[in-house]
């Protein structure tokens, strides 16, 4: 019998009512009295020297308030990078300046050159057209390998080359891995591209800067996944505003998928300009601008080699990856190909020797940073593709090859620096075989073939590291921030509760799921608990939502704070009932004294805390409010197994997804309905990557896929109903809820199964195809079939 409240239940989402009635409060819905509007004049060339920006004519245009250029930001800080990677030679990465508005050079199409503030958007846009920019075109570097050639044009003149870092992991394993590969019975090699994607949350970014001169206080309303991170980065590194004078509010946010983690120039600009002009300044991104200014994702080019012994055991793995950073280092860009990618290369398998080499490269393209999964999809894709290829080369069943090499004992220390606390990869694979009805595949293939279609089955596993992250560990690895989170549980006099959390909900349903936990712990009704998030002035210093961390990290803080509430309220209850604290029990919202029929209700205790007439004032303070900060002891390791069945039209190369099944182990699950939804959304993004999406630059650095006419977002008719299951649950061993995180799994786990399925389909038709690069568009698949 499913529960109807508390942990494990699926109450309807309370946030839905405002979204369904058009009464949400997204950043673009915020309009402040007297606000001006900014339009950014952006570079239309990928690389050029700015010889002059003449704003004279534009200044005189109707409604213009002021025009800013790079010169206005001399002496102002640049946008910081939050993670310093040390390379294989012990040198720190090359880290270029990232000015708010371009200074000296433009480095990608979309790089902001000037900002026009005017009374209306239209006036700002009109005036921007009257700005004369004298840019001397420079040759652009777009291709990563070309960018590393001697004599290639440099994106940043003051760096020694376009190489940000050359990272080796684990460097000490390098020779042993080389040797094992040289001596292996079989080596499977695969070269592949994990193409650049655009996150594309449906809400474009917006920033509204406000300033109170009287109080010298700045407020930024912004589409962010982590308001405190923005306050820290912008206040401390860019504008020099102390925290107590800077408030950052991220209200309802229309999806993020990583792209709204980072601190962007437009946020700093609106905050800066509001102070300069002493009036609010608003920017709303158009979708076209979003394609040129939101950090993009993926963009790895990889060669992977998997060595097996004569019994098909994996003995060594070596990868060589080029990772595109784009023109500047976005906030967490440098960590993605390293600590979120290299450390996952063991996957679900006991490969004893692994060496990962990543060269991060500057190019004249939009910066690249975390996008749903961030590094882990890239790791999973190459590993699960090469395993599939190995199985085909060796003539063994791809599932059997995986099963043979599964890690089965936990905790398990991988050769790439992490320790998986728990998991059961056999169980998720068993579950997958059941829900995907793999035994019925042969009949379905025969039926497809009767209709002239090729049918393929692709299976893969994945593991990810979530619950980001143990601060001390990531500090050693180069993170410039702690990655704990925080929650304050404020119990009001009548017993209702506000929980202020550092996590931010932009689709994840925290407002519904988090109260399920608190209410269950206290035995009270969920409707008595509300979540407050998204406003740095109302919430404790938490690090926000990304990396499937909200429940594992912030939820753990919330549990700790609630435990403190329980401890204190038991003291009060003991006093009220003249009993010993050790005998007090809390159940169903009632405090009782063990072995007696004495009881007081939750509300009596909370009232006593705020009206302390009969209260142990000499022992404890009045009031009932507790804060906890939680720093995780380890990452969490959700894992699973996915299966995709495709049909390929041999005439056209068109691929359709016929079935998709996902068996995940997320540890304990608080709200199964929300978890299903997270997986569905992740699957759509992963299938989108596999079949449809791709960010394309031409040789000059013009972005060819800069609108929804050119960038193929998955639509309803591209996708099937999915079969998802998360009944395999090995609870996380080191956080109090035993949860692992579910937000990214679908996007991480699905691309390889789609490509594996297409390769299987093509081979079933007699085509000698062992890889097709994503997206598997009809033209690519058709070309592959032609040989």
């Amino acid at each position: 019998m499913p529960k109807d409240s508390g942990i494990g239940a699926s109450p309807k989402r309370r946030e839905d009512v405002r979204f369904l009635t058009g009464t949400g409060n997204y950043t673009d819905d915020i309009n402040l009295r007297g606000q001006a509007y900014v339009h950014f004049l952006r570079s239309d060339v990928a690389h050029g020297r700015i010889n002059g920006v003449n704003t004279d004519a534009a200044e005189g245009m109707p409604g213009v308030v002021r025009i800013f250029t790079g010169a206005d930001f001399e002496g102002v800080g640049g946008l910081p990078c939050g993670w310093q990677v040390t390379d294989r030679h012990g040198e720190v990465m090359q880290e270029p300046a990232h000015p708010v508005l371009a200074q000296g050079k433009v480095r990608h199409v979309g790089d902001p050159i000037a900002a026009v503030v005017a009374e209306t958007y239209e006036q700002a846009r009109d005036a921007a057209e009257a700005i004369e920019v004298d840019i001397e075109d420079l040759p652009a570097v777009i291709d990563m390998k070309a960018a590393l050639k001697d004599g290639a044009p440099k994106v940043h003149d003051d760096l020694t080359s376009n190489l940000c870092y050359d990272w080796g992991f684990v460097e000490e394993n390098r020779e042993a891995v080389d040797e094992a590969i040289r001596n292996a019975a079989h080596v499977t090699t695969l070269e592949l591209v994990n193409q650049r994607l655009v996150a594309n949350p449906m809400e474009p970014r917006v920033a509204v800067g406000d300033y109170s001169r009287a109080n010298d206080e700045s407020t930024l309303y912004t589409t962010s996944q982590n308001p405190h991170v923005i306050r820290l980065l912008m206040g401390a590194f860019v504008l020099g505003i102390p925290e107590h004078k800077l408030r950052v509010v991220a209200p309802d946010v229309g999806g993020g998928f990583g792209s709204k983690i980072f601190h962007y120039a437009e946020e700093a600009f609106c905050t800066f300009a509001a102070r300069q002009l002493n009036r609010p300044v608003k920017w709303t991104s158009s979708r076209s601008e979003a394609f040129l200014s939101d950090a993009q994702g993926r963009d790895h080019v990889t060669k992977i080699e998997l060595a097996l012994d004569g019994d098909n055991n994996f003995v060594a793995l070596r990868t060589d990856t080029h990772a595109n950073m784009g023109a500047y280092l976005s906030t967490f860009s440098t960590s993605v190909p390293t600590w979120l990618h290299g450390v996952l290369m063991a996957g679900n398998y006991k490969t004893p020797l692994i060496y990962v080499n990543v060269k991060a490269v500057f190019t004249n393209t939009v910066p690249v940073d975390a996008y749903r999964g961030a590094g882990r999809p890239e790791a999973t894709f190459q590993l699960e593709r090469v395993i599939d290829k190995a199985a085909r080369e060796l003539g063994v069943d791809p599932i059997a090859l995986r099963r043979q090499n599964f890690i089965t004992e936990f905790p398990y220390a991988t050769p790439v620096a992490v320790e998986y606390d728990t998991g059961d990869y056999v169980a998720t694979m068993d579950k997958l075989e059941e829900i995907a009805d793999l035994s019925g595949f042969a009949a379905r293939r025969a039926e497809s073939e009767k209709r002239g279609k090729l049918r393929g089955l692709g299976v893969n596993c994945y593991i990810e590291a979530c619950g980001i992250a143990p601060s001390a560990l990531v500090g050693q690895l180069g993170a410039r921030a702690g990655l704990y989170d925080a929650a304050t549980v404020r119990v009001n006099a009548t017993g209702s509760i506000s929980v202020m959390v550092g996590a931010h909900s932009h689709g994840q349903g925290h407002e519904t799921a988090f109260p399920q936990v608190v209410a269950e712990m206290l035995g009270i009704d969920e409707s008595m608990v509300d979540i407050v998030h998204g406003d740095s002035s109302r919430i404790p210093f938490g690090m926000g939502t990304y990396g499937s961390r909200s429940l594992a990290v912030c939820g753990s803080a919330m549990v700790r704070a609630t435990e403190k509430i329980i401890n204190k309220s038991k003291k009060i209850a003991a006093h009220l009932m003249e009993a010993s604290e050790a005998d007090i029990e809390l159940k169903d919202g009632q405090f009782t004294v063990a072995g007696t029929d004495k009881s007081v209700a939750w509300g009596d205790v909370t009232l006593a805390a705020y009206v302390p007439h009969n209260y142990p004032l000499e022992e404890i303070e009045p009031g009932l409010e507790e804060t906890a900060f939680y720093d995780p002891a380890n990452f969490t390791y959700p894992a699973g197994a996915y299966a995709c069945e495709v049909e390929v039209d041999p005439e056209t190369g068109k691929v359709t997804i016929e079935r998709f099944a996902a068996a995940d182990d997320f540890g304990n699950v608080v709200n199964p309905m929300i978890v299903d939804g997270q997986v569905h959304g992740g699957l759509a993004q992963g299938i989108g990557q596999a079949l449809l999406e791709g960010c394309v630059y031409d040789a000059d650095g013009q972005l060819l896929s800069a609108s929804y006419m050119d960038y193929a977002m998955p639509r309803a008719d591209d996708l099937p109903f999915y079969s998802v299951d998360h009944s395999c649950q090995t609870p996380c061993t080191h956080n109090p809820l035993g949860v692992k995180g579910c937000g990214e799994a679908g996007a991480i786990g699905s691309p390889p199964s789609v490509v594996n399925a297409v390769v299987d389909a093509l081979q079933s038709g007699g085509h000698k195809v062992d890889h097709v690069d994503m997206p598997l568009t009809p033209s690519r698949v058709w070309a592959a079939m032609q040989g």
Binding site: K12, R13, E15, D16, V17, R18, F19, L20, T21, G22, T23, G24, Y26, D28, D29, N31, E122, N200, P201, M202, E203, P204, D252, V253, G254, G255, F257, S286, R287, S288, H506, G507, Q508, G509, M673, I674, D676, G677, Q678, H680, G681, G682, L683, A684, Q685, S707, Y708, M709, M713, P714, R715, A716, D717, L719, F721, Y722, S723, G746
Partner: protein
């Protein structure tokens, strides 16, 4: 600046607009009806769908002046006077057909138009009709289920097939 007048959610509405002002901007900026969202600038995403004289229209594809005299219905007019959700809205909540909520107003308005035309659509008909509405969060699974349910069909059974 020219004046425009229309009926929005059953009430008269008027305002001054430029010739280039889009209906979506008029609703959001002049009338403060911010439930109609703008997710793109190429008429691809469907976040802005409203009904104009009973037909679903992307409000970003129409100038405000073109709606002179029209009956315009937006997401804000869908719930009952007492705030109760209509059948489609309720089905979206029941089936978790929304996450961040940004595409949701357009999805609900599009679904309403579909069900008016085709009271009992098949899964394929629903997916086809949603061609012009992009959702980045839900993977569409629960949106399709919600629309099946709103049409009185057994969404769970159809999705499990």
């Amino acid at each position: 600046m020219p004046q425009v007048a229309m009926t929005v959610n059953g009430k008269p509405a008027r305002g001054e607009v430029e010739g280039r002002t889009l209906l979506s901007s008029f609703l959001r900026d002049n009338l403060g009806l911010t439930g109609t969202h703008v997710g793109c600038d190429t008429s691809q995403c469907g976040a802005c769908v409203v009904h104009v004289d009973g037909k679903d229209v992307k409000a970003c594809t129409m100038f405000a002046l073109e709606a002179e005299g029209a009956q315009v219905d937006t997401i804000e007019g869908q719930a009952g006077a007492d705030g109760s959700l209509n059948v489609i809205q309720q089905a979206f909540q029941d089936h978790h057909g929304l996450q961040c909520g940004f595409c949701t107003p357009g999805m609900v308005m599009t679904a309403a138009a579909l069900l008016k035309e085709t009271p009992k659509p098949s899964e394929a008909e629903i997916r086809d009709y949603l061609e012009g509405n992009i959702c980045r969060c839900t993977g569409y699974h629960n949106i399709v289920k919600a629309i099946l349910a709103a049409s009185g069909q057994d969404a769970g059974a159809i999705a499990a097939e």
